[in-house]
Amino acid sequence: MNTALSDLEQAIEPLRKRYIGQRVGPYLAWNKVSRTQIWQWCAAMGDTHPEYLGGETAIAPPTMLQSWTFRDVHGDYAPGSTDQNTYEVLGKLDELGYFGSVAVSYDQQYLEYLHEGDHVHSFSTISDISALKNTALGTGCFVTELAEYFRQDKTLIGTATITYLKYQPNQTSTGAPPSSPRKIERIRPVENTDSQHYWQGLRDGKLLIQQCSDCDVSRHPPQPMCEACQSINWHTVESTRRGKIYSFTSIHHPEIPPFDSPNCIVLVDLDEGVRIAAQITGVKYDELKIGMPVRANIVEVQKGLSLPIFEVEQ
């Protein structure tokens, strides 16, 4: 384990001491086992086993185990249940930054059948908080809960072992919670074999202009064939990024995030003899004029996307 992870472990250790092995309960079922609930479960699951509803006394399908002591929609347990919260530890992990949450396993064990009229209660124990691990979703630990289900006569009728991963989501993780909305970004250009050199050039801090290798005519935007001589041989020349404003506009409405409003756009006749459309900054929209000398900086506007952005040349 590296040192950084070890520091993080130190923060979790008090939670292990406090919560592991602490058994809380009882949590009471809202209702006694009834024929109606069994019918609903069987109808929903498509379970037609004759034992469940066929006899004098209905028998509950064992897979209903967890459902008996479910909380209601408000998160409340049935009256008579403990006030202690099994899941307090999960909240503590949230506070440490492991706010990602995903259930990774759920194993049940069935020991006794429940019959119509039985009343269930359960106890819950945090049985383990694992060492920190680096997962595909992010760094986090596995928290294991053991739930024990009892009949009214205190006979253990079944257990459930549930493991959660509590993690700090990676930046790129798809498991990011909905509480962190995605930032609106610029539309990314399509880079195909005809234009990839242009966008890569910008990422390398260069404004590259295509030039015909046979007749020397420059062209922009990129295209595979020279329209002057039909040659498909070309190379690029690095632009000085200097030119003069040929035309301009400022976009006031609608506001298009993430752009400033107004967003000033210029058509620039570059010294290399081609025209290019780009943003201009550092000048008020009503101060723009045709013929103004301008020069572009190459700006990484968002990760992996660089663009020429002009400013008025002093």
Partner: protein, 389 residues
């Protein structure tokens, strides 16, 4: 070569609104069916279908629902509103060469209640889509609305000829005057003053709110067939006297930035003479025009390209009232796309048909011959339509 003449014989349209409340397919079927009924033909007579890109309704779906049998000709033209006269060019050719006998031309869109063109959301993120490859040079900078693209041309026109925002405002006022007396228009009974235009908010400088057409829901459809057959049908035939598409080397899909001079729309300059020659007419013989007015300033270079006035004189031509009610070349007597609705040019063509039938809300005394144009700032087209006895 003496080719048989082709005419518009049927016209159908839905109402124009901001929320049609029904699917684009239903709008298309309603307009196409109305056009067939209007023409005096039946669905089974229709064996050709033509539209232009950004319409989301497939030819075969409409054809089946209006009672079509075998479909022998179908064609779709690229470049959105610039393609508005493409279907006419193609249907005329198909009818003249016997590929089909009667074709429906249509446009149906929920452009206001569905995907809005002016929102900056026109995008197909499919990386193999030619639109996306093309717009990659503009979208990442936020340069992504038609108003902003056309504003670049407008700025050059102002720079070259000294035109002002008020000159554009007078165009809006003229269109809204026609719209105010057209019950089918959005702006029916809502004329505009120059002052209101000047006070409206900036959209993409120098374009103001009232320089821009309105995104609309609605559909328009036509039936075209040979003039010979048209003479046996109930409506006054509107002959397609000439129709022409045009792109020049620097033409781009609605980003007309690379022409040597973007104050003009070089596609119109290039096609104009040939268009008149093939219709055997001249600018001063036209009674009116329906010019593509997605934005007011687009009218000015069009008036010049088609020879109604000299280059640089269009603003004065407008100021002198020539394109307005009572002028010598009334333009967009339905209120245009600025005042009636934005059905990508087809509602303007519908107005020409009504004028020639004598059924326009703003009926002209003389309406025998007219010019119609498709979108400006894109590969485009134009046509001369002529009333036939």
């Amino acid at each position: 070569m003496n080719l048989p003449a082709v005419a518009i014989v049927g016209l159908g349209a839905t109402e124009f609104s901001k929320n049609s409340g029904r699917s684009e397919m239903q709008l298309a079927c309603e307009a196409a069916h109305a056009a067939v009924q209007d023409s005096g033909l039946t669905g089974s007579d229709i064996d050709g279908m033509a539209t232009f890109s950004m319409d989301n309704n497939w030819e075969i779906e409409i054809h089946r629902q209006i009672g079509g049998q075998e479909l022998r000709f179908f064609a779709r033209t690229e470049f959105g509103g610039g393609g508005a006269l493409g279907p006419f060019a193609h249907a005329v050719s198909a009818i003249q060469t016997g590929q089909c006998q009667a074709a429906i031309i249509y446009r149906a869109m929920n452009e206001r209640s569905g995907l809005r063109f002016g929102s900056g959301e026109i995008m197909n993120m499919n990386t193999l889509n030619p639109d996306m490859i093309h717009f990659s040079h503009y979208f990442p900078t936020g340069f992504m609305t038609p108003a902003a693209w056309i504003a670049m041309c407008t700025r050059r026109y102002m720079h070259k000829y000294g035109a002002t925002s008020e000159d554009f405002g007078r165009i809006a006022v003229s269109m809204r005057d026609f719209a105010a007396s057209n019950p089918a228009a959005f702006f029916y009974q809502q004329p505009l003053t120059l002052e209101q235009h000047q006070q409206s908010k900036l959209i993409a400088d120098p374009l103001r709110l009232f320089d821009c057409c309105q995104e609309s829901d609605g559909a328009v459809a036509f039936v075209v067939t040979s003039l010979e057959r048209a003479r046996d049908l109930p409506n006054t035939p509107v002959e397609i006297a000439s129709v022409r598409q045009c792109a020049v080397p620097a033409s781009r899909q609605i980003t007309p930035f690379y022409h040597a001079d973007i104050a003009h729309f070089p596609e119109f300059d290039a096609l104009s003479c040939d268009l008149f020659r093939r219709a055997d007419t001249a600018p001063n013989e036209l009674d009116f025009a329906c010019l593509y007015d997605h934005f007011t300033p687009a009218i000015l270079p069009q008036l010049e390209a088609f020879g109604f006035c000299a280059p640089g004189e269009a603003a004065d031509f407008v100021k002198d009232g020539h394109i307005s009610r009572g002028g010598k070349l009334p333009v967009n007597t339905n209120g245009g796309q600025l005042g009636e609705a934005y059905i990508h040019g087809l509602n303007g063509i519908a107005e020409v048909v009504r004028q020639m039938r004598g059924t326009s809300a703003n009926q002209l005394e003389r309406s025998d011959q007219a010019l119609v144009t498709a979108g400006a700032g894109v590969p485009t087209g134009a046509a001369i339509l002529r009333k036939q006895a």
